[in-house]
Amino acid sequence: MYSEKVMDHFQNPRNVGEIENASGVGTVGNAKCGDIMRIFLDIDENQIIQDVKFKTFGCGAAVATSSMATELVKGKSVQEAMQVTNKAVMEALDGLPPVKVHCSLLAEEAIHAALWDYAQKNGIVIEGLSQPKSDIHDGEEEEEY
């Protein structure tokens, strides 16, 4: 069901962990859907992402897309990180099964949420970045079940 790359990133996820006093932290997804991603960014004064870590609650694809997304933004400028789309994450993983495409969207959103947090804290505007819509409490009370 999963590509070799997905399995590799699930079994040996890169950049798992936390960054204390991170420049930006973003958490997206919600437990109801079964996926939560949290990304920590360490960004220097030149707006270069020096370090990135993640924690993810979710399936194999959720872990693998988080891992790949962190790889893709590490060492990049904030503007370059904005170009890391869900498509880029999927391509880097040699594809995902159709039911797992939402995991790659979540990875993109998690990066954006962490960048948004960084921008807010530092009072800067990142071109093309808007306030993330997902957060972990979204939808908790809305649906009856």
Partner: protein, 393 residues
């Protein structure tokens, strides 16, 4: 490989395969044919039907062979609804049925039937007083599963059937997980219709039957020839039926030993997991459960991740996680017993066979401990939980 997914399917027993083989290349005659070759096939079907009828306390002519549990469920519900529509349009079932029942009920709802879905308690038990309150003069059918496929809870079928009969409705049970695992007597329990499948009891896949009590008006499911008393046309799956009969014979012969052995292994597995893995919860009733079923939820982790990691260790298991179902919703059974979504996503079902050993279970628990620990170390939910606990100390 350690196989702990016997509720999904089982290994076909060698004696079942041996019984089936002659019906492919030697006794390949059509049971409807007049000559000796056909008669041999017909006799094989009659013998299998007799075995199954005996096990249930039923009559031979009350057993109809099908292509499996889902077909039997579809047939029972659709045909009974159609046959009794003049009496009423109300059907009662539960929230924890297999999709073969639930999706058939949805189909019937679209065709003008009204379905009541009974709640279950935190252990997955249907309460007879809930059925008593829901049943009405226009209720034509009550369908409650014998034992749940995910959490293993065994329902109070005798009480539920008694209430149903007192109100003049039909009682159907989906016994796919229970037939051959625990004793069932259709007369003692007052069951009108019962669905079962061959591959859950070491028989071949694509086989099953529907028990229909004599006197019940029920329409043909497949129209055509006169097979299965004209109610399910089509040349019989002779090797499959022979295999189903052989599997039923075997299952009842070994039942007492199997139950004793599996119960012991099950309780050992439950005890080790509860003692050694924190923040876990046993799902389903602790004692009123299938002898081979273990189902746990582990907080802060997701089921598919557990399954992939177990698979890497050669362990076959299953989960009620959304990710294993192809939708975003976790198991309807776990939600029905009152579990929160995030807990339902972290469920693991281990279903034993009599061939499993204590050593295998030790290997599974040892690895499961490490897997849960690893996944928690990566989980933002666990991180938040630990931080919250520190703050509140």
């Amino acid at each position: 490989m350690i196989y702990l997914d016997n509720a999904a399917t089982t290994k076909t027993a060698p004696e079942v395969v041996d019984a089936m083989l002659p019906y492919f290349t030697q006794n390949y005659g059509n049971p409807s044919s007049i000559y000796g070759l056909g008669a041999a096939s017909k006799k094989a079907i009659t013998d299998a039907r007799k075995i199954i009828a005996d096990k249930l306390g039923a009559k031979q002519e009350e057993i109809y062979f099908t292509a499996g549990g889902s077909e039997s469920d579809n047939w029972a519900l659709k045909a009974a609804a159609e046959a009794y529509a003049s009496k009423g349009h109300h059907i009662i079932t539960t929230k924890i049925e297999h999709h073969a029942i639930l999706h058939t009920c949805e189909y019937l709802e679209k065709r003008g039937f009204e379905i009541t879905y009974l709640d279950v308690d935190a252990d997955g038990l249907v309460h007879p007083e809930d059925l008593e309150a829901a049943i009405r003069p226009d209720t034509i059918l009550v369908s409650v599963m014998f034992a749940n496929n995910e959490i293993g809870t065994i329902e109070p079928i005798k009480e539920l059937a008694a209430i149903t009969k007192a109100h003049g409705a039909l009682f159907h049970t989906d016994a796919v997980q229970a037939f051959g695992q625990v004793p069932i007597d259709v007369n003692e329990l007052k069951i009108d219709m019962l669905s079962a499948s061959g591959h859950k009891l070491n028989g071949p896949k694509g086989t099953g039957f529907l028990y229909i009590r004599t006197g019940i008006k029920i329409r043909s499911f497949v129209h055509g020839g006169a097979q299965e008393r004209s109610r399910r046309a089509g040349t019989e799956n002779v090797p499959g039926i022979v295999g189903l009969g052989a599997a039923a014979d075997r299952a009842f012969r070994i039942m007492d030993d199997k139950i004793a052995k599996e119960t012991k292994l099950r309780n050992y597995l439950i005890e080790r997991i509860e003692n050694e893995i924190p923040y876990c919860k046993l799902n389903g009733h602790r004692t009123r459960r299938l002898p081979n079923n273990v189902n746990f939820s582990f907080r802060f982790v997701e089921g598919e991740s557990i399954l992939i990691m177990l698979d890497m260790k050669g362990v076959c298991a299953s989960s009620g996680s959304a990710c294993t179902s192809g939708s975003l919703d976790p198991s309807h059974v776990l939600l029905a017993i009152g579990m929160k979504h995030e807990e339902a996503h972290g469920s693991l079902r281990l279903t034993l066979s009599e061939e499993n050993t204590k050593e295998e279970l030790d290997f599974v628990v040892d690895n499961l401990k490490a897997i849960i620990e690893r996944l928690r170390s990566m989980s933002p939910l666990y991180e938040d939980f630990v931080k919250h606990n520190k703050e509140s100390v």
